[in-house]
């Protein structure tokens, strides 16, 4: 049973990794403290749901459509928020406001019911004692594929490299000819796209409901903090830890405690090792260029 849980946890973690990488991008490159990240995940879920209702396309296919939708949503959200860049407190409030808007818009459109996709597959893969559902395997596969693609983009392309450069030093990047604003929007759009994709894939495992954003928001932050801000590798490892943590507590303690355990985990990390488990940037440090001469 333990092995079963760990494997399910890893499969879940793959999808969570997408969410947190998106958040990391938004925070690191666009410098936006996004407290509505989970709601963008939920937008992804409901987009996939709507596509299914209208066209019958399942999430394994519709993610290709969900990504551009999410990118568009991200683009609009960025336009709204860009004026608050550099003001932490206003960013917190504006993203909380946005989260209220998204949650209640969904509530109005879809009511508060839990909506889940029916399983497409009636069997699952059996490996020894371990059962793996096709759903989670497929979702994991897509997540891994996109993650690899994203890492390739970040490391091997000029735009990806520029994103990393902007996250480290905006004005030095502009001295290289980088149009910082453009990169910033692009990173935000991509970050939200990844959240949307994650939502789309999550729909194959969990039901969607309007206020689920709160859970996914905290989840994404927990992973990012756990992994060390801006550390992609760390975030991946953290996502798997959280995924396993969730399946284990869900089974041994009770499903309602799934989140409590990683909230506790989160608070503990913030206190004990604020730079995250896998090093990185300190949580106390201000991201700010001081003008000195």
């Amino acid at each position: 049973m333990l092995l079963q849980l760990i494997i399910s946890g890893i499969l879940l973690g793959g999808v969570y990794a997408l969410t947190s990488m998106g958040l990391s991008l938004v925070f690191g490159v666009s410098k936006i403290v996004n407290f509505a990240h989970g709601d963008f995940v939920v937008i992804g879920m409901y987009s996939a749901l709507s596509i299914f209702y209208v066209t019958g396309l399942v999430p394994y296919i519709s993610w290709i459509i969900v990504i551009p939708i999410s990118f568009g949503v991200g683009y609009l959200a960025y336009q709204l928020m860009k004026r608050t860049i550099g003001e932490d407190v206003n960013q917190i409030f504006i993203t909380i406001g946005l989260s209220m808007i998204i949650q209640n818009l969904i509530l109005m459109l879809y009511k508060s019911d839990y909506r889940a996709m029916k399983s497409l597959f009636d069997s699952s893969i059996k490996l020894g004692n371990v059962y793996i559902s096709y759903e989670s395997l497929l979702a994991f596969g897509i997540a891994v594929l996109v993650t690899i693609g994203f890492l390739w983009f970040l490391n091997k392309t000029d735009t990806g490299r520029a994103m990393r450069a902007v996250s480290q030093d905006k004005s030095a990047a502009s001295l290289m000819g980088v149009k910082v604003e453009k990169i910033s929007v692009l990173a935000f759009g991509l970050g939200i796209s990844m959240a949307g994709l994650a939502g789309c894939l999550l729909l194959t495992m969990y039901a969607a409901y309007p206020t689920a954003g709160g859970v996914y928001n905290l989840l994404a932050w927990v992973i990012v903090v756990l992994g060390g801000l801006g550390q992609v590798g760390g975030a991946l490892a953290a996502a798997f830890i959280i995924g396993i943590c969730e399946t284990l507590t869900g089974f041994y303690i009770g499903p309602d405690f799934r989140q409590v355990v990683y909230y506790l985990f989160f608070i503990a990390i913030l206190i004990i090792k604020p730079q995250g488990l896998f090093s990185g940037i300190k949580l106390h440090k201000k991201v700010k260029d001081e003008v000195t001469e």
Binding site: I96, V225, Y263
Partner: protein, 328 residues
């Protein structure tokens, strides 16, 4: 001194008008609206002490509210201790929680403090559902309707109304006092620039902690009073994070970091909410919170200082202009 007197008189007049309004109305439907408005004004003002003055944005304030409500209710139902005491016990329990949160997380930079407050509220929510032996689980707890002073249950809505007015007077008095005191100066300094503040002898952590404690106490007391008024509590009303965001929204819309701002916010938004809910509630679930969100986002983008902040700035500018014209 003259100015201070002036201010006291102005506040006295304001509360008098509120009380008279309550007496005149004499209709439970409208009294309920008044009570709700005053209750939210209290909660927003209490939140403002830490969110506005100290610049520490908590979105988990509902934890204090819920803890206050549960403490007084459980004390009454299980041990038959009068809510008169329970209300203060609720406030004190909230302070204890604040102390714990403070010690653990107040060093954290803005967004991370905010996240940890959300996490704590969520944890309490789950715990409240889980320990149903004590809390009644998701079904919640009912306070029997047996009006008496000992039970702190009253027939007349006006009595409750007066309770909330008293709470508001207490909060306004404390905030006004803090505002003029050393702590108030220190809090504002901390909000503006922590490094500079500490170089002037301000103990940054202690100042923030003080703000959190005071704020938690009033929120806890408010929660306990609210439970007495509703005669019912359940985890999803008193531990839900959206309550905190609503309270924060009131302060922001009214004017963050001012005494009057949160009150202005509540007097504008709460009736609007009640109206919208009664008009559209059934058909468009969530519309009122949607409007809240839109108002909050627009205020931050258009008038970051909030309605009161923008107004008082305009008045100041006007006065200066007049003064300049006079001297010229």
């Amino acid at each position: 001194m003259k100015l201070l007197n002036n201010k006291i008189i102005r506040w006295a007049a304001f509360f008098l008008v509120l009380i008279i309004a309550g007496l005149v109305v004499d209709n439970n439907y409208y009294l309920d609206i008044l009570i709700t408005v005053v209750f939210y004004a209290c909660m927003a003002s209490a939140w403002n002490i830490v969110g506005g003055y100290a610049g520490q944005v908590s979105v988990g304030h509902v934890a204090f509210l819920g803890l206050g409500a549960y403490t007084s209710t459980i004390l009454f139902l299980k041990l038959n201790i009068t809510p008169l005491i329970g209300i203060f016990a609720g406030g004190i329990m909230a302070m204890v929680l604040a102390l714990l949160i403070g010690f653990l997380t107040i060093r954290l930079r803005g967004p991370f403090f905010t996240l940890s407050t959300i996490a704590i509220a969520e944890i309490l929510l789950v715990l409240a559902v889980r320990f149903h032996g004590l809390t009644g689980g998701s079904e919640g707890l009912n306070i029997p309707y047996r009006p008496s002073v000992y039970n702190f249950v009253f027939k007349s809505y006006f009595t409750y109304y007066m309770m909330f007015i008293l709470l508001m007077i207490a909060i306004v008095a404390v905030i006004s006092y803090i505002n003029k005191s050393r702590t108030g100066f220190y809090l504002r300094a901390v909000r503006e620039d922590e490094t500079a503040a500490s170089s002037l002898g301000v103990d940054v952590l202690r100042s923030k902690l003080t703000a959190l404690l005071v704020s938690a106490f009033f929120t806890g007391v408010g929660g306990a009073l609210y439970a007495q008024y509703l005669l019912f509590i359940d985890p999803h009303t008193v531990f839900t994070v959206s309550f905190s965001t609503k309270v924060a929204a009131l302060s922001i819309v009214g004017g963050i970091g001012t005494v009057i701002g949160p009150i202005v916010g509540s007097f504008i938004l709460t009736p609007l909410e009640i109206f919208l809910r009664s008009q559209l509630g059934g058909t468009y679930q969530g519309l009122y919170l949607l409007i809240y969100g839109v108002i909050m986002v627009s205020v931050i983008l258009i008038i970051p200082k909030g309605i009161y902040g923008a107004l008082s700035d305009a008045i100041k500018r006007r006065r200066k202009q007049v003064k300049n014209e006079l001297s010229a």
